[in-house]
């Protein structure tokens, strides 16, 4: 036993390692290198175009084969942000997005609650049919819708564009809140009713606050869907209602690269900011829970 005992001095001089220090084998090194290469390639593939976009937004003169622009400038930012038409399209985008989100919420949230709490015939079929908007090529849907809107005189009107943009929000605004509502234990609602709260008070003070995160995600995703909607708005909104994505078509075809680059960044900022806000919920599984079929 005495052979195992180490004196205090020796213990201080030989610190113990927290891990074993075996040398790495060849296969481990190779695997490590390959994964680094793959990750690097992915990063370049995803971030590369974004970096180039940023470079273009501040570039003055940039010709092949230079890796970086020869001269830099802010002038394109000035041009874009001070341009009346473009400014107008930015404003319109930010008017349509909240309107579409609110209308979508008003229509879809009650439906989401019904899907979550009640049992009625054809329930599942109904929920799945909402996906139909995503199943068909959007252009086809829009052309048919345009025909209908034309009949009702809604082409080139504010509400016509709202209707078209609503299409993209329906799935998100029904499925995700429905999962959020269903996740609220029924007992909590029963307890509220037992305490004297009617249906509306129960919904407002118990169900809604507890489903808040799912609904926030749905609201933000709808907002973004409306901001990004290009084809339908282009079809229905021209020529009076030009939103940012529609404006983008003109910019890309009739203006130099720099203008389009600046505009792309301006268009991406709200999406980026909102997604940052929502990332906690997306990572937390709200999205996954929302798209599970019950």
């Amino acid at each position: 036993m005495s052979t195992l005992r180490v004196s205090n001095d020796e213990q201080a001089l030989t610190p113990r390692r927290a891990y074993s220090s075996r040398p790495l084998s060849t296969t481990q090194v190779v695997r490590w290198i390959i994964s680094c290469v793959i990750i690097l390639a992915l990063v370049l593939f995803i971030l590369g175009p974004l970096v180039i976009l940023f470079l273009w937004a501040f570039a003055d003169a940039w010709f092949y084969p230079a890796l970086l622009p020869h001269t830099w400038t802010f002038s394109w930012w000035q041009q874009i942000l001070l341009n009346g038409d473009i400014g107008h399209s930015i404003l319109l985008s930010f008017i349509f997005a909240p309107v579409v989100t609110l209308v979508s919420a008003a229509i879809c949230l009650p439906a989401a609650y019904a899907f979550a709490r009640f049992k009625f015939p054809g329930q599942r079929a109904f929920m799945v049919s909402l996906f139909a908007t995503n199943a068909f090529p959007k252009m086809g849907l829009y052309i048919v819708m345009a025909g209908l809107l034309y009949t009702f005189g809604l082409m080139d009107t504010f509400w016509g564009v709202v209707l078209v943009q609503l299409l993209n929000t329906v799935v998100v605004m029904t499925w995700i809140p429905s999962a959020a509502f269903a996740a609220v234990p029924r007992e909590l609602e029963d307890a509220a009713r037992d305490a004297g709260a009617g249906l509306w008070t129960t919904f407002w003070r118990v169900t809604l606050p507890l489903a808040r995160s799912g609904i926030m995600v749905a609201l933000i995703l709808s907002f973004l869907a409306s901001l990004d909607e290009a084809q339908g708005t282009f079809l229905v909104g021209s020529p009076d209602y030009i939103t940012m994505p529609t404006q983008m078509y003109t910019l890309v075809t009739s203006y130099p690269q720099q203008a389009a680059a600046v505009f792309s960044i301006v268009l991406s900022i709200p999406s980026f900011v909102l997604l940052l806000l929502v990332r906690k919920y997306i990572l937390g599984g709200t999205l996954a829970a929302g798209f599970r079929l019950r």
Binding site: E187, D190, A192, D194, A195, G196, A197, G198, V206
Partner: protein, 348 residues
């Protein structure tokens, strides 16, 4: 406080009758229990009283007034749910105050009443805590406070102790009983645990498959179970089959000496004997040998193997496994067609 009367309550769920022609009366200030195995209809009945389910038929009268047409928010009942159902996004104060706020009671009044009821359940210092920060027993008390603050006529408890560990269960059930007695409120609670039911209820209603088997005080339920179901459900019971023969009961060809029955009964009967009524004697009994001995603290449970079958007995003296003993029955309950026909008189 209020009295409740259920008459002819029927409820079908999924095609089968979950509650079948139930008649029940609860006296004012009484605490009664609905006891039974899962699926017997006890929770369904409680939910019908609370207003969450509507019966298919029958009458429900609270203080002689029908309450069937009232939705849960309008009924003068308050329920303590099995999983407590405390609202996680509100603190204890607001959980308890919710009902009062909905009724638009004045702020000062709300504060006073909430403090009062929190004092009753001994949770005054937790007013600002959130349910997630509290233990099961404490959450249970908040749920109770929330129900009581509304001064309901009827308190309903849905398996209030099933989520607690056994030691806590005993403590909390006694607290519930104490609070119920102090406030004097009429209460109905549901459980599948017969020990719980017998220890704190004034009366117990044993339910099986939607029908009321027996509704009596715990003592009567234990001593004179009216049906074979109740006999086997409450406590431990030896269940045998045989007939009355002279001074005993004949089971599997052996006559076990038993109490004298005032008048002889014919036919084959179900015979139920409590283990404490199986007496070990020095002679004059049926031979058996001990095959199992389970220590139970201040007494022992023995399993005897004898001609009539395996018999459980409670004894207080030390008897080893493998010993040969003789036994007889001090008291036996006789059942024909599941109904009690004769309760034996104990013989000294």
């Amino acid at each position: 406080m209020a009295k409740l009367v259920l008459e002819g309550i029927v409820k079908h769920l999924g095609g089968r009758p979950v509650v079948n022609d139930l008649h029940l009366d609860v006296k004012s200030g009484e605490m009664i229990c609905l006891l039974g195995a899962s699926g017997c209809g006890k929770t369904t009945t409680l939910r019908m009283i609370g207003g969450f389910l509507a019966p298919d038929a029958g009458r429900m009268l609270l203080d002689d007034v029908s309450i069937l047409h009232l939705p849960p928010e309008k009924r003068p009942t308050a329920m303590v749910f099995q999983q407590y159902a405390l609202w996680p996004h509100m603190d204890v104060f607001h959980n308890v105050a919710f009902g009062l706020q909905v009724r638009r009671v004045a702020k000062q009044e709300i504060r006073r009443r909430v403090q009062e009821v929190l004092k009753l359940v001994r949770l005054e210092q937790f007013a600002r805590s959130y349910p997630a920060q509290m233990s099961g027993g404490q959450q249970q008390r908040v749920a109770l406070a929330r129900a009581l603050v509304l001064e309901p006529k009827l308190l309903l408890l849905d398996e209030p102790l099933s989520n607690l560990d056994s030691k806590l269960r005993i403590q909390v059930r006694e607290e519930i009983q104490e609070i119920q007695r102090r406030v004097g409120i009429t209460a109905i609670f549901v459980t599948h645990d017969q020990e719980e039911a017998l220890s704190i209820s004034d009366r117990v209603a044993v339910l099986s498959e939607g029908k009321l088997e027996q509704y009596a005080t715990p003592d009567v339920l234990y001593r004179d179970p009216a049906t074979l179901y109740v006999a086997s459900f409450i406590g431990t019971m030896n269940l045998l089959r045989g007939s009355v023969q002279g001074q005993g009961v004949a089971i599997e060809g052996t006559v076990v000496p038993c109490a004298q029955f005032p008048a002889p009964i014919d036919g084959t009967l179900d015979i139920a004997v409590r283990p404490e009524d199986v007496r070990i004697v020095d002679d004059g009994g049926v031979p058996a040998h001990v095959i199992q001995r389970i220590p139970r603290g201040h007494y022992q449970e023995l399993v005897l193997s004898a001609q009539p079958g395996n018999i459980r007995a409670f004894v207080s003296n030390d008897i080893r496994v493998g010993e040969q003993v003789q036994f007889l029955f001090q008291r036996a309950l006789l059942y024909r067609d599941e109904k009690l026909v004769r309760a034996g008189v104990a013989v000294s």
